[in-house]
Symmetry: C2
């Protein structure tokens, strides 16, 4: 490992220069000859019966090429995880984002005008906007075919015996925490272009995070439309942010497909910023009842959690986040007895989706806030409690996760040291420190039947390679990381590696960009293909150099003998020799990597990931008692990353994640009142911007994961996971109030301070 030349270097992201000069082509920039523009008419009410829907005036508008309603869709066709979502609604609307009609026209303006000509009459119905209400006996059912608003989902995990542990525990805390809807705020809004060829094969220009799975979704749709055995190609434009929002396919995509099929023209639908706010799916909001207990020495004895999640009117991946929440619930710190149940409940609110961390931030907010409460009643410094219970290499957790590399203790200690924890904790007086840790999948996550990724490499006559990978780059930098891995293996400059990652016709299969899996899984796939082609290179050079290939290696584009300095050749020369020969050959290789992780069994146990990522965030805050304003004075984010393939990008993930976490902790919330979004714009929905960046230290703890490419683990999501509880804990340390409901706004802090004064 000492001799690494490209891996481990701070190499700037490849997509940065074209993005900086405006050369990157986003879906917004894409034009296809003959393209029409689609627009969608949404419901005016969160719950209503459609009495009349008249599109005739819209159809007559000059420039309108098609108007579609539910009647244009196959009547039984549904999308989403539970197949409960018709892309165009008829009869009743169940949420404010319900799509009821759509237009394709020669310009977006004409399409917009046509929407205004569609006449809809509603009978407004009372709605249910609170999952607790929706669970009550006799509550109105959102989906009449179901018997309850609680979704039939099996979210229950039992490890050990919590009841017994409760009896033995010396210290027990119990409390309830809640988190709001927050949204991804991708700067590139959602959009697609659907285009059919003369054989009715579909090309979808898209910014999906799951090209291979979206392909299957669309094939299913084409089947429903009567187009059997067709080909679907997904071409990804440059993606302006994903964060989990693009892990599913949505109504607008099927609407574009239907409009394209009806008009025989390519149809583009691009969301406005307003649509991006109200018509995409946010992080699911949660109400979490949590109980923790420990023995006299502070050793954790049990953890019990009951959770309610507002599912909204339809179901996307948000409803499955409890499966990932099980990871921190069962395995963040050593805790032998665990019980967890979660209920996802239909309401007339918006429906949710995956978002960075996939439930982990919600669960970790409750766990890490509760742990500080436990430390307090047990009379132990919160950092000592954490250190005492920290995960360790070689551990097998109650949910059967096999911990390989684990730098959790090092992360805690880095935070303690760099934050001067011992000098600052417990002093109150408006200033305080807090910490929180995380566990996350770091070596893939077998949530689908395959967790694989394919890679193809071909090499030209000069040693330059083209790498086709299934792994999409949604801005996280996977293109650069894969180029580094391949360059390192092949001993060539990184500029000689071209990565192609945006076309299902060309790129091998990949399950998608989620679960912080790309560096690990796609990295290993690229590594495997590069090793295969390297052995071909060495064989070719062996002939030229008359040397045993076992004694050959490549560095800086030179193939050389490791035992005889006389024997070396420029890589290109060996390649041309192998090519320009009778029966010559150019080098190509393919490799498919599927990690040795496990799907959960029926009890939700199994080794989900080949390795796990750890981290601890520590924060120092100052709280203004007059205003409730929280100011972050210092922020240390220490992460166990295995090996840092590219410290620059890795720090970027930590800074970006941390700042997104600060938004989650202190400011972001989608304000829904009776099913209507009240702050769907960047003026009223506050995300931290450049001026809000606190002083942040990203600390890289390297642990060398044996199964990772060059020892690496995933880091895409973790930066966001422990931020909110670390801040909440710091606020408590500063002013003695604990905010249990995110975001921690000045109003809430002030109210809590006043409440405390009254009591005090």
């Amino acid at each position: 490992m000492n001799s690494l030349t490209t891996v481990g270097q701070k190499i700037p992201k490849r997509d940065a220069p074209p993005k900086a000069i405006g050369a990157a082509v986003y879906i917004q920039d894409m034009k296809v000859p003959g393209m029409l523009h689609g627009k969608i008419l949404y419901s005016k009410h969160p719950h209503a019966r459609i009495l009349k829907l008249d599109t005739s005036r819209a159809e007559k508008l000059a420039g309108v090429r098609a108007v579609i309603t539910a009647a244009d869709m196959p009547s039984t066709f549904r999308i989403g995880v539970m197949k409960d979502n018709p892309p165009l609604k008829t009869g009743k609307v169940l949420s404010i984002r319900d799509e009821i009609a759509a237009v394709a026209a020669t310009s977006p303006e004409i399409a917009e005008e046509a929407l205004s000509l569609i006449e809809v009459e509603y009978e407004v119905l009372p709605g249910i906007f609170d999952p607790i209400e929706a669970m009550k006996e006799g509550a109105m059912l959102l989906h009449e075919e179901t018997k309850s608003n609680v979704l039939k989902l099996p979210w229950k995990l039992v490890c050990g015996d919590v009841e017994a542990a409760k009896k033995e525990a010396v210290f027990i805390v119990e409390d309830t925490f809640s988190t709001p809807w927050v949204t991804h705020c991708c700067l590139g809004t959602s959009g697609c272009i659907a285009q059919f060829d003369t054989n009715n094969n579909l090309t979808m220009y898209s910014n999906t995070q799951i090209p291979s799975l979206a392909q299957n979704d669309y094939i299913e749709a084409l089947n429903a439309f009567g187009l059997k055995n067709k080909r679907v190609r997904i071409v990804q434009c440059v993606i302006g942010g994903g964060f989990g929002s693009k892990l599913d396919t949505y109504s607008y995509e099927y609407i574009a497909i239907r409009l394209s099929l009806k008009t025989r023209k390519p149809v583009k639908i691009i969301f406005s910023r307003e649509e991006e706010f109200f018509a995409t799916s946010p992080r699911q909001c949660t109400i979490t009842k949590i109980s923790h207990g420990c023995d006299r020495e502070g050793r954790l004895m049990f953890r019990e959690i009951e959770m309610v999640l507002d599912n909204g009117a339809y179901t996307s991946w948000g409803a499955t986040t409890p499966s990932v929440m099980m990871l921190p619930i069962s395995s963040l710190y050593k805790v032998p007895n665990v019980k967890y149940t979660a209920k996802c409940v239909y309401t007339n609110n918006t429906y949710s989706q995956a978002m960075r961390g996939y439930g982990n931030p919600q669960a970790t907010f409750a766990i890490e806030s509760s742990l500080d409460q436990l430390a307090e009643i047990a009379g132990i410094d919160p950092y000592e409690l954490r250190l005492k219970n920290a995960n360790e290499p070689g551990e097998v957790t109650p949910q059967r996760f096999k911990i390989t590399s684990c730098g959790m203790k090092e992360c805690i200690e880095e935070v303690v040291k760099r934050l001067n924890w011992k000098g600052k904790h417990g002093r109150g007086a408006g200033r305080g420190v807090g910490m929180a840790s995380l566990i996350h999948v770091g070596g893939g996550a077998r949530v689908y039947k395959s967790d694989g990724c394919g890679t193809i490499i071909k090499m030209d006559d000069f040693g330059k390679v083209d790498v086709f990978t299934g792994a999409s780059d949604i801005g996280q930098g996977s293109e650069t990381i894969i180029a580094q891995i391949v360059a390192e293996v092949l001993g060539i400059p990184i500029d000689d590696v071209n990565v192609i990652n945006n076309d299902t016709d060309i790129c091998p299969w990949d399950v998608g960009v989620h679960a912080s899996r790309t560096t690990f899984v796609a990295g290993n796939a690229a590594l495997g293909a590069a090793l295969k082609i390297k052995s071909q290179v060495l064989e070719a050079a062996a002939k030229l150099l008359e040397e045993d290939p076992a004694y050959l290696d490549i560095k800086n584009g030179i193939v050389f003998s490791t035992r005889n300095k006389e024997k070396s050749t420029p890589l290109g020369k060996a390649l041309r020799k192998a090519h320009y020969t009778l029966g010559g050959k150019m080098l190509m290789a393919e490799y498919f990597y599927d990690p040795k992780n496990e799907n959960f069994d029926k009890e939700f146990k199994g080794n989900l990931s080949v390795s796990y990522a750890y981290g601890t965030h520590g924060v120092e805050v100052e709280v203004d008692k007059e205003t409730g304003q929280v100011k972050i004075l210092d922020y240390v984010a220490a992460h166990d990353v295995g090996k840092a393939i590219n410290p620059l990008l890795l720090e970027g993930q930590i800074y970006g994640g941390g700042l997104q976490g600060v938004g989650y902790a202190l400011g972001e919330k989608m304000v829904y009142v009776n099913g209507e979004l009240k702050n769907g714009n960047f003026l009223d929905y506050k995300i931290p911007t450049a001026k809000d960046v606190p002083p942040m230290q990203a600390v890289i703890v390297e642990t060398d994961e044996k199964d990772g490419p060059f020892g690496a683990k995933g880091i895409g999501e973790p930066g966001l996971v422990p931020t909110a509880p670390a801040i909440a804990n710091a606020i408590y340390d500063a002013v003695g109030v604990r905010i249990k409901d995110l975001p921690i706004t000045p109003e809430k802090v002030l109210k809590a301070l006043k409440g405390k004064e009254k009591i005090g």
Copy 2:
């Protein structure tokens, strides 16, 4: 072979529907964001000294972004086969198509206007327009650094002893034949878009026939421009005809590159139809002195040819056509003693390029005309002379071509039978029949150091495949042929095969579309990759079916046991089983095929191709003695094709080639007078159109070439090769005049008839 399901079927060309409805994207249709438009200023004189070149007014025109001259090009940078062609000329211009300046502007109209503002003063110089003149002692030298206008090219072939054979021959004929410049008449004119990324890597949107070689040409140019170690990507649009015209890179491409580099914008250059006529490179014109001798029985004893080719002012591949001419000269019919020399001579005319047949039509015109003369003096029916001397399987020709499959005799006999030769030949009276045969490479042609082609295949979960091939489709149908071969091997419907063939980043290397090599070479490459992936499929299915893979096969998407009918599974099921398993895999394969043919040795001997294609055309004409007009009454084109992968496309090649040959025989000629083209448009340059199609029968003679994919050989060029001599021979049979100078216009026939009357 009995059980073929896709190979051998008349499957329509895949690109036909999009072309028919206007959905195909040609370079003309391509738009790239921010694109500028380039235009070129050509010389006004075929030979002149540039006294002044002032671009200042052009530069000031609003919308003009750059004006370049030779000063913007590296002073020593030259392009072309002999590196004698600076992309922009300075000092002296040597031909009417010499590029002297170029403009990039925001619209083509502004660029055009800017050209008119460039001021040039010339000193007109006398030119040389006749290669015979140019060869004379003391002639003005086109390129002052050379010592002679005759190019230093080694075109000389000697087989056996012609002098000795001459002494022994009983019948000898000698005559001189000539052929004109004709042009490819691609309906899609030449054009490209040059675009640099932020790293100065070049993407060239192009309609080249040689993406892999063009890539090298551009890399060389970038090196000359000081851009070292850059990547070049060639993306081919749909190509509106090639016919050899796009086998080289041209000045306009380097001009686009330079303009793009100067403006930092994509620059598009598209030729107008006028430019396409005068500024592209036609088929080289020839003057051929030929002598043939045979014994009393008509067995050929020798063939001697001396040829002069007008090279024009610069050198492209036209100058190398003599190497391919050697094939018919040495090996069309059995002829033991052969001598051939050719001289390419610089003149102030246009310079030439490859065109369908690559010299073979010129050589075959002389050979087959001369053979009829020989038959006449030997008193043998021309068809008998041909049959007696026809090539045969197993033969090794004097130039060391190893004849494998050979259906020449069958082709001759098909023509004789279908034309009712015996009832029609030798009757005169204004009607006559003629025939001519051809030999051509049919199994690749090792003219470059590699004759290879690579293929990558990946298969999805449903058995659909993407095939990346190096072989470009320039309209000849290779995409369809490759899809058929892969579908046949894998036992899947042809619609399940997607062929990707237009992007050097994605497609493996291929030497280019020339020498009728694509079905054979790229077909074998696709076959090899398909067989590799098939064996993976069978292994996967073997596990599922618990059967030895040796006993498994695939048909119609079903994998089945050949010995146990109970055991079968849909292909997709086996694939998904292999994929959705721990350690699963999706199937991919790569294969590089380089045929076992040989580069010529220094004497131009060696087995250039793995197999050879044969054909005989027979034609019946009626000649109007009053007008000289020739009417084709019947036309039989019999071709030995190995195995017809797709008879529909094959017939298309024969019809298209035959009709192009009719144009060559009877009408087409670029009229150059003192270096200036006088008929550079479709009104004055007459190509046969739909209404000129004579009754044509395409006869497919199948011979099953053992090395060909499913037994196939090449057929891209042959359809054009023997047309002109067959028609010339028929005219002679009809009216007793022999036209030795193409095209055979009514004027020439009439003049010959009148001359004959005088003599008679």
